[in-house]
Symmetry: C2
Subunit: 304 residues, 2 copies
């Protein structure tokens, strides 16, 4: 069992800054991680919104090394490590565990479709055995709209029985509250993070541990505020406001929208770069997004 | 423009033999490649049926090196090289081009969904530029049922205009004849390989170049026979027979079915191993598959 504090609270799937040649700008990434931490937001580095699946395994290893060397506490990191090839997932997960990361967020292998729970069980099981590090703490990553391969309740049951100290929680990005609710109710000791702050209040009410959300990249404090005050008298109001704000960002391609916003509010066009196959927002969409954010009175205090 | 003979005919997405620890059994793979070549079947090594997306980049490089060192003609090879991360695709494609492979079969980046043609264009374009080898010959891999990201006619048009000597053809595994027909008619100089031998006769009639099919792994000669005799008087009969046979293998999980068959006919249980998340057929399904193949009078002459 790991001696590292167990993850909870608000995590951002950290947006990835690129240089003009599309290499990762690690200095800018580290500055950005530091800003997120000042907002009491922790770091789900290498998530979907980090364009992690557009990064090579060796790039991810090098970036994590640099982030830790820069003095960022590994306990605040939950790197994404799930790849199509099991050996890649093992390599990334072992590296994260060796660094003492709070946890890893692990996609199922996502190329082959219509795989069954037995195949997914063998995949996760083999990864745990091959990493063989008791500090490894795995959060299953359920994101069927993108991975197209999901994590069923039956799979959670088998995995948590076999590896209760290692497979300890999940991020649910299904957008389907009935699934989150079913998992929260069936596995009270399994640490649920909702994949959208829209479900944060409901998740906390059923014993969840927090939220790993794209929007935390630009507005972490507001999400963390609800996390800290979910039992307060104005929690429903805070939740409703978070939903309204999220709608502005998800009305068009979310990762491009976040990069457009962060680029605008840091006055740094370099933030507006994405790796193919993702593309930046076109000019008209950018303008209407920024107008909507301005009208909302949005700010990123202390950033850029 | 490449000096290597242009691919045509029957290709097998070569099944991958594993050791007990799930490492690749390269000797067995090379023996198997040699048998396929005796059947006049060429080698789409690292295809979907090769479980290529369960292999690491470095494994693929090492395997290709060993296959070529064993004396297999690189012109007969069409390795799959498309990964989620562009730099991985560049690395694999440059390596294949340096070996003088006949072509490469390139999946689009497949993690992010609902990407647009501009993003896919940038992805392929950047790969061509970064590889920078005039021997590189790319076959686009359209397999929407699995990749969930497809290749549109508009994308083919842009890519073939920009890179007429490099982006030279495609494999269409959509299972949708209307798409194959539309591509064949719109781009007569673009080399179409159907992804299932069920469409081979129709593909050849419209100027296609052949077939890259899972079933070629166990029954290459029959497919090649239709390829060579598509203008013969019994072509429709040959086509109809290929469709009947295919149905036996695709009634259940195809990769597991092929491995079950090859394991049975080579009397080698080691062939029946798959990497997670794929799993072997259960006993009852295996028995009924083998019974169906026996009833059909199926053989693998000279194999095992």
């Amino acid at each position: 069992m790991s001696d590292i504090p167990k993850p909870s609270g608000t995590y951002a799937p950290v947006l990835m800054p690129f240089n003009a040649d599309l290499s990762v700008d690690t200095d800018r990434l580290i500055d950005y991680c530091r800003w997120l931490l000042t907002q009491k937001c922790k770091l789900a580095i290498f998530g979907t919104n980090s364009e992690a699946n557009s990064l090579c395994v060796d790039e991810r290893i090098d970036i994590l090394d640099q982030v830790v060397e820069a003095g960022i506490n590994p306990a605040d990191l939950m790197p994404g490590t799930g790849c199509c090839a099991m050996a890649d997932t093992v390599k990334l997960s072992a590296h994260a565990a060796n660094h003492g990361c709070g946890g890893v967020l692990m996609l199922p292998p996502f190329f082959y479709k219509a795989v069954n729970d037995e195949g997914l069980y063998r995949s996760y099981s083999e990864i745990v055995e091959r990493v063989g590090n008791e500090r490894l703490r795995i959060y299953l990553y359920h994101i069927p709209p993108i991975a197209q391969v999901g994590i069923s309740l039956g799979l959670i049951e088998r995995l948590t029985k076999a590896y209760p100290d290692t497979i300890v929680g999940m991020k649910d990005s299904s957008g389907d509250w009935s699934n989150m609710k079913a998992v929260l109710e069936a596995f009270p000791d399994f640490d649920m993070f909702c994949g959208s702050e829209s479900f944060l209040l409901d998740t906390m009410k059923l014993g969840g541990k927090g939220c790993i959300s794209a929007i935390a990249n630009i507005r972490p404090a507001a999400i963390q505020h609800l996390y800290e005050n979910w039992q307060g008298s104005n929690a429903a109001e805070l939740q409703s406001e978070l939903i309204d704000f999220r709608d502005i960002l998800t009305a068009q391609a979310p990762i491009a929208s976040l990069k457009c916003a962060i680029s605008h509010y840091s006055n740094n066009p370099a933030w507006n770069r994405l790796r193919p196959p993702l593309v930046e927002l076109d000019d008209a969409t950018s303008h209407s997004l920024i107008n909507a954010l301005e009208a909302y009175g949005f700010k990123m205090p202390g950033f850029g």
